[in-house]
């Protein structure tokens, strides 16, 4: 714009007016064009840039049609083969002959029906018309006033009914007939009922045809892998006709809109699509159709499990929720199972979520739970606290009630009237009753406390016994680097300075109990011990050697000889639960003989004698270890201990550890032990009630990012793109001190979390577990959580999950296969690869609930030896070297386990034994004959109680069946054991079907010619009514084996 003020420099009048004469067209045109351009840009943005899914859909339609094109001929050929198979041809032939047979009658019926329908059509109009007229007249009659009026109407009705109605074409001649209404009505009714009768007949005749057709199509569907050509054609048509449009799942109740399928078009296709098929991993089918069927996407959507922003379609990043302000980013593929945990937080073991399960195993097994509370883990301890609190408040209430009762009595005594006194006395009575009823409640609480104390376990060993158990100079070596001494151990490496190591060692050493010392033991036979160790089942939990052979549930014992004392280990192996001194949680100290002596009691404490002599409270009478007693004899225990103590390297240990007795060091060590939370995993004198030192992790993944302390790495994390929960957990797990990097901190302020030996997969599993640990699921994501999103385990499912916690706690899967597809640790050991040792594997527990009587199971779990007297044996499979240990489960846990097995096999909670039909004497003879016949192999493998025969036995005694088994299961087992327990020594094909019954497949004794009953049922009944006496008689009938005593034949090396 002109700012020129030199106004008179130019000649007047001639110059054009700079404002009035200037055209603005140029700028206007440019602005208009630019604006138009911006509109085009907006349009492009709206149609393409913001709609990347359109390109995905185009690509999908293209590749998918090519894929189907290729699939079509393949499936057509497959269908052709199925159609030409004899079975199909047979059905086809049957169908054709049936059709031929039925067709004349069908034609007849159809012809007649056609005639009837024609006549009905003719009759219908006049009939219905007249009926309507009569109905109207009847209505008028009802509402007409006087008698005369009614009469008139009646007459009219009569007139109408009389007709006559002239109707043409009713019969074949085509004559016109005159009918009254009644005649018409009758004829109409007759025709109708004839029509119904014919239809029924038609249905009856065609039923077998329909059946055969259904069979034919079912056969085709069953035998054709994949889709039929028709189905493929349907898919092709659908694909051709598919429009480019948003595909969304809308769950109204949840306010959920998921449009994932706008790009992931292959997810729910009925053909399985792979990345190779489609050339793009975006289009693959969902990898697990079973899961998809359970969590039907039309009811659940996608984002409730996978997270991400289901609504967004403008970019991959937005849709996956991988941007700063979206609180639920897509779970990374490797942690996808975290999604399961959001709802299934109480479930210990989940099908299809092995990584998550591994994460939980690690969380429990590596002792994370020692420092970090996590809801559901270590329940006994938490419940114990609750029980104690409740008991305390009850005691207070009781005291108050008693006091008040006394006051009431006093008030009553002083009352003015009798009525009033009575009122007070009554109130006092009721208070007294209340107080005493609290006693009952307290007792049950005490019982619960006792059981819970029995259930309570610690991750690490009891350190009160260090003086009795350990070599003094070994302790600092261990503390310096546990992984160096025992690679893979649960004990993590605390980043301790030498001074701290010394202080801690001194504290642990000095806090140990001095006695009573375990009894001195004579040395055992290490070679026998080795054999015992390898065959009794120790390797299901423990491992030996490097690389380790055996289970990773418990310690690797390779260098036990360098650390432990013989006497203590013997006692430990004999019964690991045996405590040196009982611990009184009330007095918070370990009791000694002197406490018992004070009250004139012997120093005896066990589950039966678990009350404190001083105050009557429940004592902790067991070591808090999950290690069970294997019921070894004293000699066996000595042998195993001798073997284990012989395991050592020639590492040398410094002698000068006098400082371990310095009380000042111990005091410092005590502070350190509290700081590092040693008491969380170990029992340590003085630190029994030490709280968990770590953060609770139950909802860790819902913590706002700002609350995760990345330390100085925050900006690096942001720059490198791992400023996420996953990034935080991952690095923290790999290097727990990482967020202290570069920070100046006093030693006591540094991060305490120790270095845990974790592999990449371990970190992934734990990360999956942590990422799924969220606040109430979907918080803020939906308006409200609709019913179908809630996961409330039913009784059965709840029982199963409760059981899994215990199965995992005691490592049942070390010896047993609990679920199909889950190998036990033992079954993987080299020894059990040998065909002969396979029978020595502990039984699989698949369908255990269906197999055994729950009452028996409860008894067995309480005492696997079955017998009170002879404990050094297996109760039911005495031929097994591996031994079912005595876990001393509390009744709580036994109940949970029994219910677990019942629920797993879908058995009713309450077991009522089936009624057994008694055998008559003839049947008994028959059964006995069959059992002992040449062809019957039963007694070759099953225990019979005869020492000579039992040498070869690889199966339990039939005598136990009555109490132990369920008859229905036994019958099924005899018929098809391989279907119940694949790979079992019990062969299939022992019986064959004969008419409606099962008969023994081999040669049967002559007496069976007349027997028409079911052989399996007969044998089951015999088995369940077998007595010891009967068994003896049975054995006598057997061809006697040449009696070679077992010992003589033993060329055992």
């Amino acid at each position: 714009m002109a700012t020129d003020n030199n106004h008179d420099a130019e000649p007047a009048g001639t110059a054009p007016d700079p404002i009035a004469d200037r055209s603005l067209s140029g700028p206007l045109l440019i602005a208009t064009i630019l604006l138009f351009g911006s509109l085009l840009w907006a349009l492009y943005d709206e149609l393409f840039a913001e709609r990347p899914w359109k390109r995905y859909q185009e690509q999908f339609v293209r590749t998918y049609s090519a894929f189907l094109e290729k699939l079509g001929p393949r499936q057509a050929a497959a269908e052709k083969t199925v159609r030409s198979s004899p079975a199909f041809q047979k059905i086809e032939a049957q169908l054709q002959s049936a059709e031929r047979e039925a067709s004349p009658r069908i034609r007849e019926i159809e012809k007649e029906l056609a005639g009837i329908r024609e006549r009905l059509a003719i009759l219908k109009n006049p009939f219905q018309d007249t009926r309507a007229r009569i109905a109207v007249l009847t209505y008028e009659l009802d509402h007409a006033g006087a008698g005369r009026a009614k009469d008139a109407i009646r007459a009219e009705i009569r007139e109408v009914r009389k007709g006559p109605f002239r109707i043409e074409g009713l019969d074949s001649g085509g004559k016109r007939v005159a009918l009254t209404f009644d005649e018409m009505e009758k004829q109409f009714g007759d025709l109708k009922s004839r029509e119904a009768a014919l239809n029924t007949e038609l249905a009856r005749i065609t039923a077998p045809l329909r059946d055969l057709r259904r069979q034919r199509s079912e056969y085709l569907a069953d035998n054709l892998a994949g889709l039929s050509p028709q189905q493929i054609e349907g898919l092709q048509r659908a694909n051709r006709d598919s429009k480019i449009e948003i595909r969304q799942i809308h769950v109204e109740e949840a306010g959920l809109v998921d449009r994932c399928e706008s790009c992931h078009l292959g997810i729910r296709q009925s053909v399985t699509l792979t990345a190779a098929d489609m050339g793009n991993p975006v289009f693959v089918s969902h990898p697990n159709r079973t899961l998809l069927a359970i969590h039907d996407p039309t009811r659940f959507g996608c984002s409730p499990c996978h997270n991400g922003n289901g609504l967004a379609t403008s970019s991959v990043q937005k849709a996956h929720g991988n941007y700063r302000h979206w609180l639920w980013p897509l779970f990374p593929k490797e942690n996808v199972e975290a999604g399961c945990l959001q709802c299934h937080f109480g479930d210990r073991v989940l099908d299809y979520a092995p990584v998550l399960e591994r994460g939980r195993d690690l969380f429990e097994g590596k002792g994370c739970i020692g420092c970090h509370r996590y809801e559901g883990f270590d329940r006994p301890t938490e419940q114990l606290n609750e029980v104690r609190k409740e008991a305390q408040s009850l005691e207070t209430r009781q005291k108050e009630a008693r006091l008040e009762a006394e006051q009431e009595v006093r008030k009553g005594d002083a009352a003015e009237s009798n009525e009033e006194a009575q009122k007070h006395y009554a109130r006092a009575e009721s208070l007294r009753v209340t107080a005493s009823s609290i006693d009952a409640r307290l007792e049950s609480l005490e019982q619960r406390a006792k059981y819970l104390m029995q259930d309570q376990k610690k991750v690490g060993p009891n350190l009160k016994d260090v003086r009795l158990k350990l070599r003094k100079e070994w302790i600092p070596v261990w503390l310096r680097d546990p992984q160096a001494f025992r690679p893979g151990t649960k004990m993590p490496k605390f980043r301790l300075a030498e001074e701290e190591v010394r202080a801690l060692s001194a504290f642990i050493w000095q806090s140990g109990l001095d006695g009573p010392a375990p009894p001195r033991q004579a040395p055992g036979n290490a070679a026998a011990g080795k054999e015992l160790f390898e065959t009794r089942g120790c390797l299901a939990c423990h491992s030996i050697g490097q690389p380790a052979v055996g289970g990773e549930f418990a310690a690797n014992l390779s260098r036990l000889g360098e650390k432990a004392g013989y006497d203590y280990i013997v006692r430990w192996i004999h019964n690991p639960r045996e405590r040196t001194r009982p611990y009184c949680p009330h007095e918070k100290r370990d009791l000694g003989p002197e406490d018992y002596a004070k009250h004139g009691q012997p120093f005896v404490f066990d589950l039966q004698n678990s009350r404190c002599p001083n105050d009557g409270h429940q004592l902790q009478v067991q070591n808090l270890t999950v290690m069970p007693s294997l019921r070894l004899s004293d000699q066996e225990a000595r042998d195993v201990a001798s073997y284990l103590l012989s395991l050592r390297t020639n590492a040398s240990y410094a002698d000068g550890v006098a400082w371990m007795d310095d009380p000042r060091m111990a005091e410092r060590g005590r502070q350190l032990a509290s700081r590092y939370g040693c008491g969380s995993c170990h029992e340590i004198r003085g630190l029994e009630d030490a709280p968990r030192i770590g953060t609770e992790l139950t909802k860790e993944a819902s913590k706002p990012m700002e609350q995760l302390d990345f330390g100085l790495l925050e900006h690096k994390a942001k720059d490198e793109g791992w400023y996420t929960h996953k990034g935080f957990f991952e690095r923290k797990l790999r290097d727990p001190a990482i967020y202290d990097q570069g920070r100046e901190k006093a030693p006591e302020e540094r991060l305490r979390m120790p270095n845990i030996a974790l592999t990449r997969d371990d970190v992934r599993a734990l990360n999956t577990f942590l990422l799924g640990s969220v606040d109430s699921p979907f918080y803020g994501k939906f308006n409200s959580i609709p019913a179908q999103f809630r996961y409330i385990p039913s009784d059965r499912r709840k029982d199963i999950q409760e059981g899994w916690w215990l199965v995992k706690k005691y490592n049942c899967m070390g010896c047993h296969t609990v679920q199909i597809g889950q190998p036990s640790v033992l079954s993987g050991l080299p020894r059990y690869q040998d065909p002969d040792w396979k029978e020595q594997l502990p039984p699989t527990l698949v369908q255990e609930g269906a197999r055994v009587n729950p009452d028996w199971l409860a008894r067995f779990l309480a005492n696997p030896a079955i017998s009170q007297a002879e404990t050094n044996r297996n109760g039911i499979r005495t031929y097994l070297k591996a031994r079912m240990p005595t876990f001393s489960f509390s009744p709580n846990e036994i109940r949970v386990l029994v219910r677990f097995f019942q629920a797993l096999a879908d058995q009713p909670v309450l077991h009522l034994a089936e009624e057994m039909q008694p055998l008559n004497s003839q049947e008994r003879l028959l059964a006995r004959a069959l059992f002992s016949s040449e062809g019957a192999p039963c007694l070759k493998c099953h225990l019979v109680g005869d020492a000579n025969r039992d040498r070869f036995a690889t199966a339990p005694n039939f005598l136990a069946a009555r109490e132990r088994l369920k008859p229905a299961w036994t019958a099924r087992w005899m018929l098809e054991p391989q279907a119940i327990s694949p790979g079992t020594a019990m062969p299939s094909g022992l019986f064959r079907q004969d008419g409606g019954r099962w008969v023994f497949a081999g040669p049967t004794p002559a007496s069976f010619k007349e027997y028409k009953g079911d052989h399996v049922q007969l044998l089951v009944r015999y088995m369940f009514q077998l007595t010891a006496e009967e068994q003896r008689q049975l054995l006598q009938k057997l061809p006697t084996a040449p009696a070679k005593p077992a010992g003589a034949a033993a060329g055992m090396r």
């Binding site: 040792w837 192999p937 040498r951 790979g983």
Partner: protein, 283 residues
């Protein structure tokens, strides 16, 4: 007005562009898709230039002595034998060669499909002993298990790769016909009722295998020319391989040798009393 017209124009333009791009992409993609589908492998047919591999499996050292099998668990079995029966674990022939060694082409035939013989291989149970003791078969070929005994057996193969089964066979029962679908070297077969009974089935993907017999030799005929790895497997002494090169219509030889020091099973494993009593009293 201008905006609407603009919108229509833009849509038309963009659609035209999209159509153009789409078309060109289609043509570009077509040939790639054709090559993607690999043809199914055709069944191999002999071309006439096949050769033979022969060899002998010798044994060095002293053969272990086995105690006679005690068949007192089943009198029927015991009755069938007049003389004591010894385990067939290590059988050394008179000429110093090793019997019951399974020899097969371990590698060199990859990518070829071989027709599955219609004839099943047969495993007999006679006198509570499996005959033959070592058996080779092709994957998907049928195995027919027959019994010649008057006692009930059960056939229990213990594969690791294939599916495990365990079927009872009473005297006079129909033969059991089964098959193994995947190649697997050494599937032990046992009878749970007669613990000494043992057979070894080797499942391979081709017909080029042999089991050494009384002279300890083997012959793999009809092999197409090429370089092969031949493996000899013995139940006790494990496996040993050799490389051979076969010219058209040529012959090649591969001799193997086993000695007791090669025992592959750790001895501590064999301590079950039933076994000690029964079969393999060990070397």
């Amino acid at each position: 007005m201008r905006e609407t017209r603009g919108a229509i124009f833009a849509t038309a333009l963009v659609l035209a562009m999209a159509a153009g791009c789409g078309g060109s992409r289609d043509t570009a993609k077509a040939p790639a898709e054709e090559t993607a589908g690999a043809p199914e492998g055709a069944v191999w047919k002999p071309a006439g230039d096949e050769g033979t591999v022969t060899g002998k499996v010798s044994f060095k050292g002293t053969a272990p002595k086995y105690r006679a099998i005690s068949m007192d668990a089943d009198t029927v079995c015991a009755a069938k034998h007049k003389s004591p029966v010894h385990p067939e674990t290590v059988v050394v022939n008179g000429n110093g060669s090793l019997r019951n060694v399974f020899v097969y082409v371990k590698s060199g035939l990859e990518g070829k499909n071989f027709a599955v013989p219609d004839q099943p291989v047969e495993l007999d149970q006679e006198g509570c002993i499996y005959k033959p003791h070592v058996l080779g078969m092709q994957a998907r070929q049928n195995i027919k298990v027959v019994t010649s005994d008057d006692t009930t057996h059960n056939i229990h193969p213990l594969p690791k790769v294939n599916r495990e089964w365990n079927v009872s066979q009473p005297p006079g029962a129909d033969p059991i016909i089964r098959s193994f679908t995947r190649p697997e070297a050494t599937i032990p077969v046992k009878c749970n009722q007669h613990p000494w009974m043992r057979a070894y089935i080797h499942v391979v993907s081709h017909p080029f295998y042999a089991v050494t017999g009384e002279d300890g030799t083997f012959k793999l005929e009809g092999l197409p020319p090429g370089d092969y790895e031949i493996e000899a497997v013995h139940e006790e002494y494990g496996a040993s391989t050799q490389k051979v090169s076969l010219a058209a219509k040529g012959t090649a030889s591969a001799d193997f040798s086993f000695s007791p020091t090669q025992a592959r099973r750790p001895s501590s494993l064999i301590t079950l009393p039933a076994l000690v009593l029964g079969c393999c009293g060990d070397r």
